[in-house]
């Protein structure tokens, strides 16, 4: 719905914060919704005046008195409303309900409940878990994961089922820890299914963090990897003790723990692939002071091979100098990553899909119809199809959404 903003309008800017990012660059946004924009100093001052209750005309007059320059405050106010940062003062309740509904319930937990998980002691424990795991991997190489660890049971379908359930549960735990860390600094979040290149991913949207100072963002960005390290340690330590003969455990539990180790190592390794906009990318772009590094890099490369759409050209033309500067070397990693992803697909995903599709079709064609083996082949076919085609489905969904 288009909002009509005129000189007499007042805006509801409850919850909106203004933070200086750099010289003449201010982040204005609502941490609760994750909507934010970057404005010059005059824009930031205008937001402060509007937030104090001034009408659009009064705020414009005050700013002109302070700076000596006339500005189109109504246009600026309309842009704030359009970006979802401000609401016309008359109707705050409806918007609040809408924003509340978009958040993941986990992320609305009271901050005092989750803050202890992200204090200095907790972070020391996370790091200790990771270091201890690496030491155990060094002392006992057989604890390192191999692809065989997927096969917890002789029945391949049962193994895939159990592995997928465990991986999905642990992925939710990873995302929940992001959400808890966000809640600890007062930022609610949203959970969504996305894709990173050829990989389907669950993602906790913590956009609200960008309205906070950089130092407060690292914890929520690293929280998922932190809890992954704890789970990894809890899976490796008993196997280490068992391999040394210190404790006795059920052989089945040992195999399940090995599968968890494989899943966690793969998850942590994936997070290091910064060019896929993973957790480490967010850490890197925060540390380098970038606001839109990935898109600027992608578009600056796209420009080399094809003409950009007008809105894409605008993104590049208005890109911050820092983004453009960092993009100069980040693009090398980005291109290497794209090449690696194609190589990975050709050497791992396609051959393994070929083997599983071939095996599944062979079983369906040759096993007695409707027998246990026949159903096993059918389930395996469905599983493999889901894994191969899910990223394609997400890509199609995103294209349709973008077209609307």
């Amino acid at each position: 719905m288009t909002q009509v903003i005129d000189a007499d309008s007042r805006l509801d800017l409850a919850g909106v914060i203004v933070r200086r990012e750099a010289d003449d660059e201010y982040v204005v946004g609502d941490p609760a919704t994750g909507d934010f924009i970057v404005v010059p100093e005059a824009g930031a001052r205008l937001v402060e005046l509007l937030a104090a209750g001034s009408s659009v005309a009064a705020a414009a007059a005050e700013l002109e008195r302070e700076t000596g320059e006339a500005i189109d405050a109504a246009d600026f106010a309309a842009a704030l409303v359009e970006a979802g940062i401000a609401r016309p003062a008359a109707d705050p309740a409806a918007t609040a309900v809408r924003d509340e509904a978009r958040h993941w319930a986990v992320s609305r937990i009271p901050s005092w409940l989750v803050r202890p998980f992200f204090g200095p002691v907790a972070w020391a424990a996370y790091v200790a878990c990771l270091v201890a795991t690496l030491v155990m991997f060094g002392l006992e190489p057989s604890l390192r994961p191999t692809y065989e660890d997927t096969f917890v049971f002789p029945d391949i379908v049962l193994s895939l089922l159990v592995t997928n359930v465990v991986v999905i549960l642990l992925t939710f735990l990873h995302e929940a820890w992001h959400a808890f860390a966000g809640a600890a600094v007062g930022i609610p979040s949203r959970l969504r299914l996305e894709r990173r290149g050829i990989f389907p991913v669950l993602e906790t949207d913590l956009s609200g963090l960008w309205a906070l100072p950089p130092a407060k963002r690292y914890g929520p960005f690293l929280a998922g990897m932190a809890i992954d390290s704890v789970v990894l340690f809890l899976a490796v330590a008993p196997r280490y003790a068992w391999s040394r003969g210190w404790i006795d455990l059920s052989p089945m539990l040992i195999r399940i723990l090995a599968m968890v180790v494989l899943s966690q190592v793969a998850k942590l390794a994936f997070q290091t692939l910064a060019y896929l906009r993973t957790d480490m990318y967010l850490v890197m772009s925060t540390a380098t002071g970038c606001g839109n590094l990935h898109q600027v890099t992608r578009l600056s490369l796209k420009r080399l091979v094809r003409r950009l759409k007008p809105e894409e050209q605008t993104v590049l033309d208005t890109a911050a100098a820092r983004d453009l500067r960092v993009a100069r070397w980040y693009r090398l990693l980005y291109v290497a990553g794209l090449i690696w992803m194609v190589w990975f697909a050709i050497h791992f995903i396609v051959p393994s899909a070929k083997v599983t599709f071939g095996w599944a079709f062979g079983v369906i064609a040759q096993a007695p119809v409707l027998s246990l083996y026949w159903w096993e082949g059918l389930i395996l076919l469905a599983f493999t199809s889901l894994n191969v085609f899910l990223p394609v489905g997400v890509a199609i969904r995103n294209r349709r959404r973008a077209a609307r």
């Binding site: 065989e148 480490m280 002071g289």
Partner: protein, 188 residues
């Protein structure tokens, strides 16, 4: 100061990305460094067995020609997979062959083996968790049987040194094909 810290984090993250991406290549390279030339046949424990084929059965209970040895050492096998480790139930012969095709060693014991001896055998599995499958074998009349691809060694008693020697010298000689100059020790 902040700019320098940002640059350092950028270098660190980029390095981690590159290490992860190249880990597959590193893995292959490191594997090549650790590969040793296969032992000559006269130093390999156990008795060589004739090749009985290596085809995958279409499904687990599909019919096939009987194996010539018990336990089997090659031949048609189940598409299902058993990974190295300790098992307390017998492993069907068709699955055993698949284990051997992946270069692992099977250490199986006869019914009636004492709990203390089973514990000794399982400790071998703990020491070699990536190479050995330990399991009971109901058709073994006495003692233990060690098998690898086209290799068999039966023993009426538990000889820890002989078991260790078989595991360390035979595991990995074959993994879907003979590796590092190993042969079946039957054909010249």
């Amino acid at each position: 100061m902040r700019q320098r810290a940002g640059l350092l984090v950028g270098i660190l993250v980029t390095t981690l990305s590159v290490i992860t991406m190249s880990s597959f290549a590193f893995g292959v390279l490191l594997g090549q460094f650790t590969d040793r030339e296969a032992l000559p046949c006269n130093e390999v424990p156990g008795t060589p067995q004739p090749f009985e084929g290596n085809r995958h059965l279409a499904y687990s209970n599909a019919p096939h020609d009987p194996y010539r040895t018990d336990p089997p050492t090659s031949g048609p096998h189940s598409p299902r997979v058993v990974i190295p480790g300790i098992y307390r139930s017998p492993i069907p012969p068709e699955l055993q062959v698949h284990i051997l095709e992946h270069g692992h060693v099977l250490l199986q014991y006869a019914p009636g083996t004492s709990p203390a001896d089973i514990d000794r055998l399982e400790r071998v599995g703990r020491r070699h968790p990536r190479d050995v499958v330990v399991a009971p074998h109901p058709t073994l009349s006495t003692g233990i049987a060690l098998t690898a691809w086209q290799r068999l060694q039966k023993s009426p008693t538990i000889d820890a040194d002989a078991i260790e020697s078989f595991v360390t010298k035979v595991a990995g000689r074959y993994d879907h094909q003979w590796r590092n100059g190993a042969t079946d020790c039957l054909t010249s």
